[in-house]
Symmetry: C2
Subunit: 332 residues, 2 copies
């Protein structure tokens, strides 16, 4: 690998990225916190720390823009470790000649999202690079959150857990792609991009015993479930007919040959909860404005260890593996 | 301004960047922590949090590379708030086609620097963008440090304080420029890029009463002193003949028409310390391997409020203002 070059797929959240992380990042920086490869690192016992760079193209898309995404994406990563998001950094890398008008729109949108999510931007950085040295604007947000109870951990997932997805899948990925390619199809579709602070708070009550949740961004729901099955050693079975997929997403996906299961979401969680609390948690999620389309889509078992299996509508079984290539570069 | 465009100078750490920060960033995100515009934000009373994106060009330069710089720059920002640097995030944005060999060199160098500085990389992100959408590789590191004693604050700077610079100035900026332009002049010059953890620890003893220190990166020593004078309302007087400037830097600066006072440093601090401890602190700094060329270069007073003045070798006075334009884009 050392003599090769980086492909787009190395940034796609799939197999190649996993290889890159293992062969380079963990080789050099491996430590007990980083090795967990969770959405946030837990440091000093009760502090969650996370980072993400946003390179989405186009920077303005139906349902949001790079500013809103940069805030909500990092907020959601903090939430996934069971933390209350509190502080964000905001680092802008801007191409010379970028308009102040666009910058203003992006920052206003980031401010609005930060306000809604209850986080303060406390530090930042601005770099400007020459024309042609960067495509418009990239934003990095890192986040710090406070863990009050116990940190959520992938290790808590247990056989019998029900798998809930908090809303329809693929909306973000497909709407970005339609916008980028200038396709008129599915024009009512908007990205699901949103900070899920309220939703997370509502399900994190001790009584519900939520074991784990994760935001299925790059690699989509399929990618995240494959990764979880792989790292827990458990089997995950989901049912195709229970997957909430909007008609526009289904149609566009078929037309473009893209599987919505691997398409990025930016305002969804996949939640693991013990069976006896699953219906109650589903109801609570559905009361949140970002959770109305939530569904129980499957369960965790011990057959098919380390594997995620999709039960298709026609009664077949399909292994849901990590995505191999890059479906949609610059999706977030 | 809203109808204009971003210039390179908006990223140069000077007047235009200050305007951009005030008119856009503080307008939207202003809060008591961010408004201080310190190198690190102090959150939860004893935690320092900082971020920086690195876009240096060329990515390999005499004395370092973008990996070393991304670690040391963020470590130094944490040190400047009086914190012990502990945790770093590492977010890579890579151009498709970038070689694994270069990536490996950069990461190895980041690892080496992190080890020396006593920080762990605990979280990260990798994005890959298409060929031509980014020039090679940009790195964001955010950092978290623990403040054990009192946080250093610009407010502690007082009249009578001596100003110490911990080493020769302009080495980083000039060596990057010589390398970028392929100039053969001053080929023995290397960047001062380094994590100053040891140096900071050695002067942060309560007995020394160090009031404040800052790393004079973008905008150089002149830019930082102008900014400090401006935000404290105090006057700062420095003496030209006491400024440690290497012969190669002096020569290259004259040749290129660049003032080393405004040229970026990546392994230097400018330290403010009460007069009665200044000689002792200078001696301690000189014992550190990165502090051998330290000098007391001036003092803080109440004449010339909000202004930094340079006493020239020929007995004149020159006002050191914030840099106006962009001397050296992509210097860090």
């Amino acid at each position: 690998m050392d003599n090769g070059n980086i492909f787009l797929a190395h940034g796609a959240g799939g197999k190649l990225q996993a290889e890159l992380i293992h062969n380079f990042i963990l080789k050099y920086f491996g430590n007990p916190v980083l090795n967990l490869l969770e959405d946030s690192a837990v440091i000093e016992k009760s502090i969650a720390f996370t980072t993400d760079s946003y390179v989405v193209k186009p920077i303005f898309f139906p349902g949001g823009d790079i500013g809103k995404l940069a805030v909500s994406g990092t907020v959601n990563d903090l939430l996934c470790s069971g933390a209350t998001p509190r502080y964000l950094s905001l680092s802008l890398i801007i191409e010379e000649g970028f308009s102040f008008k666009k910058l203003d729109t992006i920052l206003r949108s980031a401010k609005c999202e930060a306000g809604g999510a209850g986080v303060d931007i406390v530090c930042g950085d601005i770099k400007v690079v020459g024309k042609g040295e960067l495509d418009e604007i990239f934003i990095n947000t890192s986040g710090v959150g406070i863990i009050n109870g116990e940190a959520l951990s992938i290790k808590k997932i247990a056989p019998g857990d029900r798998v809930i997805v908090t809303g329809s899948i693929g909306d973000h990925g497909i709407s970005i792609l339609l916008k980028r390619e200038g396709l008129k199809f599915g024009t009512s579709l908007i990205s699901d991009c949103a900070s899920l602070t309220g939703l997370a708070e509502s399900i994190l009550k001790p009584a519900y015993e939520v074991h784990y949740f994760r935001d299925p961004t790059r690699g989509g729901l399929g990618g995240v479930l494959a990764e979880i099955a792989n790292s827990t050693g458990l089997g995950i079975e989901i049912e195709e007919e229970k997957l909430p997929i909007k008609e526009d997403v289904r149609g566009a996906s078929e037309l473009l040959g893209i599987d919505p299961l691997y398409s990025a979401n930016e305002g969804r969680f996949v939640v693991f909860v013990p069976e006896d609390h699953s219906q109650e948690v589903l109801n609570v999620i559905r009361e949140d404005k970002f959770g109305r389309e939530a569904e129980i889509i499957g369960e965790v078992g011990e057959t098919n260890p380390s594997t995620c299996v999709l039960l298709t509508k026609i009664g077949g079984k399909r292994i849901i593996d990590l995505p191999r290539g890059e479906l949609l570069p610059r999706i977030c």
